[in-house]
Amino acid sequence: MRLEPVVRPTSLRTLGLPALALAATVIFASGLAALAGAAPLSVLGLIVEGAVGSRFALLETLNRATPLIFTGLAVAVAFRAKLWNIGAEAQLYLGAVATVVLGTGYLGWPAALLLPTLALAAIACGAVALLVPTFLKTRFGVDEVVTTLLLNFVVLLFVSMLLEGPLKDPMGLGWPKSARLVEEARLPRIVEGLRLHWGFGLALICAGAVWVIQTRTIWGYEMRAVGMNAEAAHFAGVPVRATLIRTAILSGGLAALAGFSEVAGAKGSLTLDLSPGFGYTGIIVAMLALLNPLGVVVAALFVAGVFVGADSMSRAAGVPTYLADILLATALLSMVLAIMLTRFRVRRG
C-alpha cells in the first residue's frame, strides 16, 4: 500500500474520519466494560454523568482540566517547534517547589505582589528545567526526548528529598509534605463558595496568549518555521538556536504554571502526589488538540472529563478506573490516524 495526498479533502472526510475514530474508541471501551461485567452503555452513561452530570461534577472536571491546559500548552508549543519536551512533569514539580519555597511565609508581601512573584519564580524554574536539555541538544546534539524523560525521575527524587529535608512541614507528623502556603499566596476562588480557583482563569488567559503569540507574532512564525524544517528556516535567516531557547522558556514556563496553580490554587501545599502524571497527560491533550492552543482547552476539558467521569463510574459500576487511560490512549492513537487519513488516501500497490 502507499499513501497519496488528498488535494482538497471534503468536509465529510475532515469531520467524518475523526468522528469515526471517536466512535471506534467508544465501541472498544464498551467492549472492555462488558468484559468487566458491566452493561457497556450504562458504563459510558456513568462516565458522562460523573463528568458533567451535576454542578459538583462539572466543577471537578474544570478543576482537573486546569493543570492539563497548562501542560497541554507546554507540550503543544514545544512540539510545534519539534522540541520534543517529554519533561513537563519535572517542570511542573519545579514550579511547585518555587511556589512553596517563596510562598510559605518567607516573603511577607501582600497578595497583589506575592502571587505574580510566585508565578514568575515558578516560570523561571520550569524554564531552566527545559533549557538544560535544550542546551544539550543545540550544543552537543543530545536527544531531548531521552534527557527530558530522565530528568522527570531526577526531579521527582529531588522533590522527595526536599520534602523529607528542608521543605518538610514541621507540623506534618513525619509525612513528606511541605508547610501550607500563607493566605496571601493562595489563588482566590473565581466564585465565592465554589472550589474553582483563578488558576483556571489563568490557564484560559495563557491559552489565548499562546494563540496570539503563535499566529500573530514573528516569534510564533519562527517557532513554526523551525518545526517544519530547521535547515530551511536557518537558510531563510531564522535564528534557529535562539528560537529553540525561546520555545524552551515558553514551554517550561507553562508547565511550571501547572505546578504553581495546583499548589497556590487547588492544594495549598506540596506533596509527592501533587501530579498524577499531568505532565504526561499533557502530551495526549496537545496531540488531541492538534497542537492548537485553543484546541488544548477543549482537549483538556475532554480528557479531564474522562478521568473524573471514570473515577465516579468505577465507584458505581465496579469497573477498574484504568479504563479511563485505555480510553484516552485509544482515542489518541485512532485520532492521529484519522487526522492523517483526512490528508492522505490509501492506495494499493
Binding site: R2, I86, L150, A329
Partner: protein, 315 residues
C-alpha cells in the same frame, strides 16, 4: 572509600549487577533492533509492563516457565504490530504513537490484572526460574557467582545480545535492516521492502522488550506489582544511545548501569549512606545516564533515517 572497594570485590555484588542488567539487556536489544531499522519505539516502557504481566499470568494459570516466556514474547509482538502498523506504512509520529502505546499497554495490563484478580491485596507468587549454576565455570572466583550462577533467563539475555550482533552484522538480513535505518531509498532500489523490514524489526524488537519485562516477574521477583518496571524502559532508550546503536557497547552499558544500581543499594547501608539522603543514590543512575549521553553524543552514529517515515505520500 574502603567500603566501595569492599563492595566492588564481593562476588554477590557482581552477581546482583548481572541480574539487574538482564532485563535491560533484553529490552535494550529490542529497542536497538527497532532503531537500527529506523523506528524509535517509545512504547518500550508499556510493552515491558505487559511482558511482565503476561509471562507471570501465563505461569500462574498453569503454563510452565518457558512457554510463559513465549506468551510474554507474543504479547509484546502484538503491541509491536500495532506500533509498526501506525508508524511504518502510515508514517504517524513515532513519538506520539510510542507514548500512546506505553499508556495503552500499561493501562490495559493493569486493567487485565484487576479483572483477573479482583480481590487480591498481596499479589500471588509463582515458582519462578531458579539459579542454574554452569558446571565447573561456576566455581571460578568472583566470575563464577557473577556470570555462571544465574537463572537461565540471564544466560538467554546474553545470548540474545550475541545473536542480535551476529544477525545485524553478519547476515544479509541484518545488512538490509541496518540499511532501512540508514538509507531506505537504497533498500527500496534493491527491490526489498522497507516497510516489511521496519515492521518486522519493530515486532521482533517489541517481543524482546516484553521478555525483558517478563524477566522481572519470572526470574527476579516471583509476582507482579504495579509500577514494577519503574522507568527501566526509558533507561534502555538511553542505553541504546550510550551504546552508539551497537549491541556490544549497549550490553556493556547495561552492565555498567546495573553495577551502579547495585552499588547505590549497598552504599545506602554504609556510614556514608546514613549521611547522604537516599534520593541522591537513586538519582545518580539517571544523572549518570544523561552525562554518558553528553559524552557519547560527540561520536554518536545515529541511524540517518531514524524517525523519518519512508515514502509517506510520495511517488
Amino acid at each position: 572509600m574502603t567500603e566501595i572497594v569492599d563492595i566492588l570485590l564481593s562476588a554477590s555484588f557482581w552477581a546482583a549487577a548481572i541480574r539487574i542488567a538482564s532485563p535491560l539487556i533484553f529490552a535494550a536489544m529490542g529497542e536497538l533492533i527497532c532503531e537500527r531499522a529506523g523506528v524509535l519505539n517509545l512504547g518500550i516502557e508499556g510493552i515491558m509492563v505487559t511482558g511482565a504481566f503476561a509471562g507471570w499470568m501465563a505461569v500462574y494459570s498453569g503454563l510452565s516457565l518457558w512457554p510463559g516466556v513465549g506468551v510474554a514474547l507474543l504479547a509484546g509482538m502484538g503491541f509491536g504490530l500495532l506500533h509498526a502498523v501506525l508508524t511504518v506504512p502510515f508514517g504517524l509520529s513515532q513519538h506520539v504513537v510510542g507514548l500512546g502505546i506505553t499508556l495503552l499497554a500499561t493501562a490495559a495490563t493493569y486493567f487485565a490484572y484487576r479483572l483477573a484478580l479482583p480481590e487480591v491485596t498481596s499479589p500471588p507468587k509463582i515458582a519462578a526460574f531458579t539459579e542454574w549454576p554452569v558446571p565447573i565455570l561456576s566455581d571460578l572466583p568472583l566470575l563464577g557467582p557473577a556470570l555462571f550462577t544465574q537463572t537461565p533467563l540471564t544466560y538467554a539475555a546474553f545470548a540474545t545480545a550475541g545473536i542480535v550482533a551476529l544477525v545485524l552484522w553478519r547476515t544479509p538480513l541484518g545488512l538490509a535492516i541496518r540499511a532501512a535505518g540508514e538509507n531506505p531509498s537504497a533498500v527500496a532500489a534493491q527491490g526489498l521492502s522497507v516497510t516489511g523490514l521496519r515492521m518486522g524489526a519493530v515486532i521482533v524488537g517489541s517481543g524482546l522488550m516484553a521478555v525483558g519485562g517478563a524477566f522481572l516477574t519470572m526470574s527476579a521477583f516471583d509476582s507482579f506489582f504495579f509500577e514494577m518496571v519503574n522507568g527501566r524502559g526509558w533507561i534502555c532508550i538511553a542505553l541504546v544511545v550510550f551504546g552508539a546503536w551497537k549491541p556490544g557497547k549497549t550490553l556493556l552499558g547495561a552492565v555498567l548501569f546495573a553495577a551502579f544500581d547495585a552499588l547505590q543499594v549497598r552504599l545506602q547501608q554504609t556510614p556514608l549512606g546514613a549521611e547522604v539522603p537516599y534520593q541522591i543514590f537513586l538519582m545518580a543512575p539517571y544523572i549518570l545516564s544523561i552525562l554518558a549521553l553528553v559524552v557519547m553524543s560527540r561520536r554518536a552514529a545515529v541511524p540517518a533515517a531514524l524517525m523519518v517515515p519512508f515514502n509517506r505520500g510520495e511517488r
